[in-house]
């Protein structure tokens, strides 16, 4: 364990001004109030448009949301007073908007209401957020559990292989009527492990990599091993679970964190090469993935074949129908997408009913969240914290890109949940934990250093 915690020489950034850093909790509270207000307004708009009257339990939804937001705010106020004031309001707003969109789509599937379940999962997510913020006083504690994390992550990812496939992918555990995607939670554990491993070994990786770049066969296994392992793991995951999105996310996360730790473009080149080989092989030989690539290249092929529009075509139709300003909440027909309209394709509903304006706002919210993560990474003083913040921000960024790019036809579609917006319990809970960690990291970054540490 000592190797993992070894200090690496790195010029420290200038320390923040002593003691007088503003906490800005008032700003956070105001933004939270705004976020809750927007969501309650959306809730009422949907009810008026779909049922013609205000929602049945008029105040319950508002009370739930406001209560959860207040609880999270209090946890931050007392346990992470220097945290970034933007992170929590963005999370509340995105989660609330997701609930509004799911409630809107519920109106088109009266036999399968899902908003209630999503609300309960969101509550659980907020509870976990509070728990993490309260219990985890210092993010560096996580560094000690690096190998435990990776073991747990591998276990979580392997378990679903033994469960029956759902919609062509082995990524769900179904137990007692509940379904859970353990791979979602594994993301965080892997980010923790990567951060700890790279923080400890980055010097070795950085130096040997340069000298031996043109003699790759001589590279010691100790150095080349990890990247090959992760690559094999990703491909293995893909083959075993047929989950293109998650394996893409893991690999991308690892390459980004490796680059951040070492600054070696060579690693990126190797990583991209391996990814390209893997993606090409899988895209060519794996039928499930191959059909996705075909759909992406020609989304309207099924129409020409007389089989009617496929999901991606329906998604594009939905976005197009939204236009600049959108049809208005409850006035779109994104339910035509059918299967997965509430989960993977939730963004299409936002696109149709809120328009380009709404989509841009939502994407910018994600952009802001990622930006705050990177800011925390820049302001932190320890390499583990920096890498962890970079990793968590990258998880959000990659996930948004993969799924939003997929449903808008920018890249081949891979099943993945839009953070906070999409229906799916494991995803919401995981994202709340990510946000809790970002809050913790932000607090550590801006907290005035204790006098003895500052003097040292």
């Amino acid at each position: 364990m000592t190797a993992l915690t070894a200090e690496v020489a790195e010029p420290a950034p200038p320390p923040p001004p002593d003691g007088s850093a503003p906490k800005r909790r008032g700003v956070e509270l105001t933004l939270l109030a705004g976020a809750v207000l927007i969501c309650v307004l959306g809730h009422h708009c949907v009810a008026l448009a779909t049922a013609g009257r205000t929602p049945e339990p008029a105040g319950r939804y508002a009370a739930w949301l406001a209560g959860a937001a207040l609880l999270a705010h209090l946890a931050v106020r007392f346990r992470a007073p220097y945290a970034d004031p933007l992170v929590l309001p963005i999370a509340v707003l995105l989660n609330g908007l997701g609930l509004v969109l799911i409630q809107r789509l519920d109106a088109t599937t009266p036999t399968h209401p899902t908003a209630g379940g999503q609300l309960r999962w969101s509550a659980l997510g907020v509870a976990l957020f509070v728990l993490v913020v309260v219990v985890l006083r210092d993010h560096r504690v996580l560094q000690k559990y690096a190998y435990l994390s990776v073991a747990a992550a591998l276990a979580l990812m392997l378990v679903p292989v033994f469960f029956p496939a759902v919609n062509g992918a082995h990524i769900w555990i179904r137990f007692a009527g509940l379904s859970f995607q353990p791979g979602e939670f594994a993301k965080i554990l892997l980010a923790v492990f990567f951060a700890a491993y790279l923080a400890a070994n980055r010097t070795a990786l950085a130096l040997t990599g340069r000298r031996l770049f043109w003699k790759l066969r001589l590279l010691p296994g100790r150095v080349l091993g990890p990247i090959l392992t992760i690559w094999l793991l990703s491909v293995g995951l893909l083959v075993l679970e047929r989950d293109l999105g998650t394996s893409l996310l893991f690999f991308g996360l690892f390459v980004i964190m490796l680059f951040t730790a070492t600054g070696r473009i060579g690693w990126i080149a190797i990583g991209l090469l391996l990814a390209a080989v893997g993606a090409y092989a899988v895209g060519t030989f794996e039928p499930h993935v191959h059909s996705r690539v075909e759909d992406w290249l020609n989304p309207f092929a099924s129409i020409d074949r007389g089989e009617g529009p496929g999901q991606l075509a329906q998604s594009l139709f939905a976005f197009a129908a939204g236009g600049l300003l959108g049809a208005g909440l409850g006035h779109g027909q994104s339910f035509l997408i059918g299967f997965a309209a509430k989960s993977d394709f939730i963004l299409a509903t936002a696109g149709e009913e809120l328009g380009l304006v709404g989509i841009t706002a939502i994407l910018l919210l994600y952009g802001l969240l990622v930006h705050r993560g990177f800011c925390a990474g820049l302001a932190l003083r320890d390499p583990f914290g920096r890498l962890l913040a970079t990793g968590l921000a990258s998880i959000v960024a990659l996930q948004v890109f993969v799924i939003a790019g997929g449903v808008t036809g920018l890249i081949p579609l891979t099943g993945m949940a839009m953070p906070f917006l999409a229906q799916g319990g494991s995803s919401v809970v995981t994202n709340w934990v990510i946000v809790a960690l970002l809050v913790r990291l932000g607090d550590s970054a801006r907290r005035p250093r204790p006098p003895e540490e500052a003097a040292a």
Partner: protein, 489 residues
């Protein structure tokens, strides 16, 4: 490490920019193309999301809308579907629209800009006004008389108001129920296939879209041409026509159906429907004058709309004298829609002015405010008023003391002309029985109705008897109904 984190942040910013650009591409640049993709159901969902406006007869809707609970929500319903099908047409979620449902679709579906005082508001709010209504000129009693008169035999009947061109009845027989085609799914497809395969062609609107050889009813046009051209100055003067009449330049002899046509006057020729006399008169009028007269009555005109489109009626413009002789008695290539022959009768009844027929009295918003009003207008003068008066007298003689006595109505002045058109190779086909005419109530200043009736499967007896036997009673019932219930406008 700071620098590399910045690079990563820049990379993420690039991803975000790519997403934003792509979303803008889909939602702005490609939006119109995607929206117009035939597989995109949104236009259809939107179209059927609200009840469709109604088509009204005598102020009462003959259509309706039913909430199907399906994705395409409101389906069309019809009251007395077969009776009004030649007027309304169908509005199908599977097969589109026809006739009035098509011609007034913008009003009925709520897309007409005239439905809203502030069209821009609906553009901005992305809503649309409720569908408007179309009030027809059809009168229920007249329509029903024509429909029951035809009684499912193949044929058509059209009644016009001569002064205005209002279509009082428009019947095609056999008919069909357009409600069968309203929705989607198997039964609708089966009904469509069955109706299209039916040899009686129930979906063909014979009144507007089928052309028949007009036979002897065309002699009215020939007589008008002769009078207007001055070829016949005295209708009662003998014409020195042999019976049978050898077609000019050939050895073919043109016979008559009855006797007493030898050397008959034009009045007698109309009264007893002498082929020989009228063929000879047509040849004497000459090709150019005959073509001009036919055109003045509406033949050879493309693009007549009522507002549903109407097939072109034909009178050949390049013929030899023997062909002209046959054409002058409504044979050879001469073809007319029942509506066209009703217009001929209306022109005579209206003093020579050819009215423009129309079906839609006015269109309104769903609250009754008027959007547009059908305005009577003439299509020009078909003949001089004096000619019209003389033709009226001759047509009255046909009914009072000629081939058309079955059309007589006690207490009204009725003028008419029977016809039997032969067709097919060697006249082997079933003859078409025709009757065109008009009626004037005893105390009225002008004729109140003009009518044309054609029956395809008339009892296969040659001669003008079938026009009088099969078509004239229907015409009488229609004219009676029109005179009995004058318009309440």
């Amino acid at each position: 490490m700071i620098r590399y984190i910045r690079w990563c942040a820049c990379f993420c910013a690039l991803l975000l920019a790519a997403l934003l650009v792509n979303v803008a591409r889909v939602q702005v640049w490609e939006a119109a193309a995607y929206g117009a993709n035939p597989a995109n159901k949104r236009p259809a969902v939107e179209r059927y999301a609200e009840p469709r406006g109604d088509i009204l007869v005598d102020g009462r809707p003959v259509t309706g809308s039913r909430d199907s609970g399906q994705l395409l929500r409101y389906e069309r319903t019809y009251e007395n579907g077969p009776l009004y099908a030649p007027v309304t047409g169908f509005s199908s979620q599977t097969y589109g629209t026809s006739l009035l449902e098509r011609a007034e679709d913008a009003i009925l579906a709520g897309t007409d800009p005239g439905l809203s005082a502030f069209p821009l508001w609906y553009e901005l709010a992305r809503g649309r006004p409720s569908g408007g209504n179309a009030e027809t000129t059809v009168r229920a009693g007249v329509q029903r008389a024509a429909y029951t008169g035809l009684a499912g035999r193949r044929g058509a009947a059209v009644a016009l108001e001569p002064a205005t061109g209002r279509i009082l009845a428009l019947v095609s027989s056999p008919s069909y129920d357009p409600a069968e085609l309203s929705g989607t799914g198997g039964p609708v497809k089966a009904a469509w296939a069955r109706l299209n395969a039916d040899p009686a062609r129930p979906m063909l609107n014979r009144a507007l879209r089928e052309t028949y050889p007009p036979g002897s009813t065309f002699k009215i046009v020939t007589a008008a041409a002769a009078l207007d051209a001055g070829v016949v100055a005295d209708v009662d003067a003998p014409t020195q026509t042999p019976d049978p009449y050898p077609l000019p330049g050939t050895n073919t002899l043109l016979p008559n159906a009855g006797s007493g046509c030898q050397d008959a006057s034009m009045a007698e020729a109309v009264q007893w429907s002498c082929n020989t006399v009228m063929a000879k008169i047509g040849v004497r009028v000459g090709l150019r004058a005959m073509v001009d007269a036919a055109r003045r009555f509406g033949f050879n005109e493309e693009g007549l709309r009522v507002p549903a489109w109407v097939s072109r009626s034909n009178f050949d413009t390049d013929m030899s004298p023997d062909q002209l002789a046959l054409s002058s008695i409504g044979q050879f290539n001469t073809r007319a829609t029942p509506l066209q022959m009703a217009m001929v009768a209306a022109a005579v009844a209206g003093g020579g002015e050819l009215p423009s027929p129309y079906l839609v009295e006015r269109t309104t918003q769903d609250d009754g405010d008027q959007v547009r009003r059908g305005r009577p207008h003439g299509l020009g003068r078909a003949m001089s008023p004096a000619t019209a008066l003389r033709l009226q007298e001759m047509m009255v003689a046909v009914v009072e003391n000629g081939t058309g006595h079955n059309a007589a109505i006690p207490g009204a002045v009725v003028g008419g002309k029977t016809g039997t058109a032969q067709h097919g190779v060697g006249n082997a086909g079933t003859p078409y029985a025709w009757f065109i005419g008009w009626a004037k109530a005893q105390d009225a200043p002008l004729p109140g109705v003009a009518v044309a009736v054609v029956v395809e499967d008339a009892e296969a007896r040659r001669g003008d008897i079938s026009g009088n036997g099969a078509a004239a009673p229907i015409a009488r019932a229609v004219m009676e109904a029109a005179l009995a219930a004058p318009a309440k406008r």
